[in-house]
Each structure stands twice: as C-alpha cells, then as structure tokens.
C-alpha cells in the first residue's frame, strides 16, 4: 500500500507540473485583466490536437511541435482578446463569462465537426519507456512533460521578471491607471497577455499528448482543474498556480487510488467545491 501510495504521489506530482503550467496561463489572464477564461480547457485540447495532427500527418515528434502550439495558441488568444473580450472588458462579469463560454462551445464542437468523436492517441517510440526510482516506476513521457513544464514556467517567469514587456504586463496587472501614467499602452498589453496565457496552455497540451487521449470533449475537466488550482493558489498569483498545480496533481492521483477508479473525477470536482467554499481567496490569501 505504501509503495502504491508513493507511486501515486510521484505520478500525480509529475502531472501537477503540467497542471501548473496550464493554470499559470489562466492566472496570468485573470491577473492582468480580471477575465475568467472558461475556454481554457478547450485551448488545452487545441494544443493536444495540434501536436497530434502534426505527428499523425507529418510524423513530427510531439516535443518538436511545441513551438507550433505555442505560436498558434498565442495568435488565437491574442485575437480572442482583441475582438471578443476587449469590447466588454469593463462590462459586467456575466458578459465575459458568457463570451468565453461561447468560445469554448465553438472550439470543442469545431473539433468534433472536423475530426469526429473518436478517441485519438499518439504512440511514439518512447511512449512506453519507464524510469525506475527505487520502488517507484515513472513513465518517461510524464517525466519529460514535467521537466518541460517546469522549464516553460521558468521561461515565463524570466519573461515577466526580466524583460520590458514582462514588467509592463506586471505593471498593468498591478495598477492599470498607474501603468497608463508611466506611458504603458495598457490596451496593447491585454491581447499580448491573453496570447501568452493561451500559449502556456497550448504548450501544456502538446506536453501531455504522448500519454493522454485526445477527444473533442477533453476540455471541461481541464478547465475545472485549472480553476481549482488558481483559486487554491490565489487568483492572479503565478507562484500560487505552480504550487496549486502540484497539490492538485497529487490530490487527484491519490484520490484516484483511495476511491474506486470510476470515481476519479469525483475527487477533483469535490476538491473544486471544497476550495470554493473554504478557500475562495486561496491557501495564502486572507
């Protein structure tokens, strides 16, 4: 039992890294413009789909298609903000929720329309490789995904911390009026931030395609997990998203072995309910 538990913790931790990257995208979008993106899971699905199709049609290794995912999702996020979110940025929260819900419907069902409801997966030469660490066995693709996710999160951290653009993004998130007064064109920062947020989730999608099945309706659970994470970590907090990601990853996989496997999703949904009720301002919030 202990080794089973350790096993679950380890693989949950690995998935948690990817969750962290995915949730970082969501928390960035929220932090900068206070918009909740209900289409986040569908963007994850798109990232998976891009890598799947590049692999299936052109034989490109999923890890090599990550930049394509990042680029395409950035563009998608950029234009969604520019044309759909920006006009209602200062309108009621309801309207933003409905627009991103609309986007999620369009994305998921376009996928359904274009390539049907089938479950699709990528099998690479390394798909079944494993690593042994003591008693624990780890799937190689999950380890790689974890490392890549940490790497991308770190890159994002550098971008926000060290570059002019990153500082301008953080300044706009912190205090939009002050940002205007120092000469930052906040309205140009918003679509870029949305693009970056979408790129994060796109990369996450590419990272999990070697071991996670793609269907058009794979999105909503991811959206739910992403919101659980960022509410837990504190809406808008980047470090909170990473820590929250790891926590939720572990909680989910431990929950799955404690409950029967058919109740696996129950664990993460219950977690969302509990987080909403007891920690709506996050673990570190007041």
């Amino acid at each position: 039992m202990t080794s089973l538990l350790l096993q679950a913790i380890a693989s949950g931790f690995l998935m948690g890294g990817v969750y962290g990257l995915m949730a970082t995208g969501l928390t960035l979008i929220f932090g900068v413009m206070k918009v909740v993106n209900l289409a986040h899971g569908e963007m994850m699905m798109l990232g998976m789909a891009i890598s799947y199709w590049l692999f299936t049609l052109a034989g490109i290794d999923p890890y090599l298609s990550i930049p394509v995912s990042i680029f395409l999702l950035f563009l998608l996020g950029f234009f969604i903000q520019r044309f759909l979110i920006n006009p209602i940025l200062h309108a009621s929260e309801h309207m933003q929720i409905l627009v991103t819900l609309g986007v999620s419907l369009i994305l998921a069902n376009s996928a359904l329309l274009l390539w049907g409801p089938n479950i699709r997966s990528v099998t690479t030469s390394y798909s079944l490789e494993t690593l042994w660490i003591g008693e624990i066995v780890l799937d190689l693709p999950r380890v790689v995904a974890f490392l890549f996710a940490l790497f991308f999160t770190f890159l994002l951290y550098l971008l926000l911390k060290k570059t002019e653009l990153g500082k301008a993004i953080r300044a706009s998130a912190d205090n939009p009026e002050a940002a205007l007064l120092v000469g930052i064109e906040v309205n140009r920062i918003y679509p870029i931030s949305f693009g970056i947020g979408a790129a994060c989730v796109g990369a996450s999608g590419s990272l999990i395609i070697p071991f996670y099945d793609l269907t058009p309706h794979v999105g909503p659970p991811f959206t739910m997990v992403a919101f659980t994470i960022i509410i837990l970590g504190g809406m808008g907090s980047l470090s909170g998203a990473l820590i929250g990601g790891l926590l939720v990853g572990v909680a989910e996989s431990v929950g799955a072995i404690l409950l029967s496997s058919s109740l696996k999703s129950v664990a993460s949904t219950t977690l969302l309910v509990l987080v909403l009720l007891f920690k709506p301002r996050g673990l570190f919030g007041k």
């Binding site: 909740v36 759909l84 006009p87 209602i88 309108a91 929260e93 309801h94 309207m95 929720i97 409905l98 627009v99 819900l101 609309g102 986007v103 999620s104 419907l105 369009i106 998921a108 069902n109 376009s110 996928a111 359904l112 329309l113 049907g116 409801p117 058009p216 909503p220 739910m224 919101f227 029967s260 058919s262 109740l263 999703s265 129950v266 949904t269 219950t270 969302l272 309910v273 909403l276 009720l277 007891f278 709506p280």
Partner: protein, 317 residues
C-alpha cells in the same frame, strides 16, 4: 383588450396539434419544453441575477427520482414528480446556503453550480442502483395514470400547460415584492441590502423556486422519452441549453425564454436532423457558441427587449 392577442395566440397553439404532422409536433413540444425549463432558470438567473451553470442538477434529480420510484415501486410519476421537485429543492437549498453563506457570487457562483451538477453526474455514472452510464429505460404501460400516453398530443398539451403556468408565475412575480427584491439583488446587491432586502434569504428563495419547477420538467422529459441517462439529464450541455434560451430571448423578462426558445429550438432541431445525418455533428453547438457571443456583444439585453425598443421606436415615429 390587451389580453386579446394573448388569447388569440393561445387558441392557435391549442388547435395546432390537430392540423400539423408528427414531426412538426415534436418540434413544438421541444420548443415549449425548453421554453419551460429556460423560464425556470430565468427566475434565478434572469430576475435574481445569479447565473447558474448547473440547472441540469435539478432537472436530473426530478427525472431520476420519478423514474426510480416508478420502476422500483411502481409509484406513478404524477406523484413522483413532486417528490423529485422536493428533493431538488432540498439539494438547491443545501448548495445555495453553502455558497451564499460563504459569500460566493458572480463567477464563483457559476463555478460552484457547475461543480455540484458535475458531481451529481459523476456519482450517477458510477452507481449501479441509478443505472450507471447506461441510464434507465422506463417500461411502457401506456396509461394516463402512469403519465404515459399514446401519441404525442397529450404530451404537447401537458408541456403547453406547464409553459403557460410558468409564464403566469413570471408575470405575477414581476409585480410582487419578491420579484422586485430579486431584481434589486440582481441590479445592486449592496444597495438592496441597504434598502432592507434580506438578500441571502431572497437568493435562496429564487434558487429553491427555480429548482423546484425545473425538476418537474425533468419528470416530463423522462416520461416523454422513456429513457434517461447521466449525460443528457445531468450534463453541462443541458445546463447551457437551458440558460442560452433565456439569454438570447432576454433574461429577466417574462417572455424572453419563450422567444429565445422559438428562435433556438427549431434551429437546433433542424440542424440536428440534417447536419448530424450529413456527418456534421457539432455544428448546432458551434452555432450556439456564435449566437451566445453575438448576443453578448451586440444585443446584451436579449431579443425581447430589443424588439420592445424597436416597436416603441416605431410607434413614436
């Protein structure tokens, strides 16, 4: 005088089943069925302004309760529907008192309603007593006493009746103290509280009323189709179907959901018939997504209000 057009419309809809074919009648039933559910949602989401993405939960509780009572103990759905409605109300009050107690509003409320409905779906999926993923087939004992009829006509009149019933409720609500209090909460909760509105209590009231009525719709659906499963009765897509009609037609207006259903239901029924046959699965929901975005960006008050303004503008000219 002002009731003449209403009565005229009513007369048409009473006669229609006699003259239309079965396919057309199916669509009419769908229209009123969604109009009814959406009007139920409208009490909470439209009047009280608490956006729920989890109405499938109340619907599903209604459908499952009456069906299980019928299948396991042969209790007629005419009775079971009230049990279901009560259970849905209890569930709503449980969910609502938790979320309002913890001050969840706006987006957080959307999430928690979604999560609660999702929990119910997942639990239903995994419990064999509830039929698991295959759902429940309701055996046929065609008898009005068992809420089962031959032909679609009776179902049509039942759902028409329910729709008229909820329209009357909405209409009464509009001019009553609870109705005004709901609207006050929607418009400005802070000011409502300061004007003596017990906001938490009235939000619960709206939620309970909405859940109770939605659950009745669940029983109707179960008896009409004689088959229920977790995906179609508890899934988030049903919640979206319910919500979107009110939003398109005009949430917070008595006729908004009805108008929304008249626009969207034929659209989705027709596209489901033709597109799905042509392998274009997903297209109806793409159209929904686009309509949702279009409405929010260009007609945020919904079609009903837009029409009202147009007509008023025309009269003033």
């Amino acid at each position: 005088m002002k009731y003449v057009p209403v009565l005229f419309g009513l007369a048409i809809f009473l006669i229609l089943p006699v003259v239309v074919d079965s396919y057309f009648l199916t669509i009419l039933i769908s229209i009123f069925y969604y109009a009814y559910l959406s009007s139920c949602w409208n009490i909470l989401g439209g009047y009280a302004g608490q956006l729920s993405l989890g109405h499938a939960a109340f619907f599903g509780i209604g459908a499952y309760t009456s069906s299980l009572l019928f299948m396991k103990w042969q209790i007629t759905p005419w009775l079971g529907m009230w049990v279901g409605a009560l259970l849905a109300t209890v569930f709503a009050l449980f969910m609502g008192s938790l979320s309002f107690r913890f001050g969840l509003r706006g987006f957080y409320f959307v999430l928690i309603t979604w999560a609660f409905a999702e929990l119910l779906r997942l639990i239903t999926l995994s419990l064999d007593v509830l039929g698991g993923p295959t759902g429940i087939y309701i055996s046929v004992h065609t008898s009005p006493w068992q809420f089962q009829f031959s032909g679609r006509g009776p179902y049509y009149y039942i759902i028409l009746g329910l729709t008229i019933f909820i329209l009357i409720i909405s209409h009464k609500l509009e001019a009553s103290k609870p109705g005004f209090y709901f609207k006050a909460i929607r418009e400005n909760e802070l000011a409502a509280e300061g004007s003596g509105v017990a906001t938490a209590r009235y939000k619960l009231l709206a939620l309970a009323l909405s859940a109770f009525l939605t659950a009745l719709g669940g029983t109707f659906y179960a008896q009409y189709l004689k088959y229920i499963d977790p995906e179609t009765t508890l899934g988030v897509s049903l919640s979206i179907e319910i919500m979107i009609r009110a939003l398109v037609g005009g949430s917070g207006t008595p006729f908004g959901p009805l108008i929304g259903s008249f626009i969207l239901t034929p659209l989705s029924e027709l596209s489901r018939t033709y597109f799905t046959k042509g392998g274009l699965e997903g297209l109806p929901l793409i159209i929904y997504g686009a309509v949702l975005i279009f409405i929010v960006l260009f007609l945020p008050q919904g079609v009903a209000t837009w029409m009202k303004e147009k007509i008023a503008g025309y009269k003033n000219r």
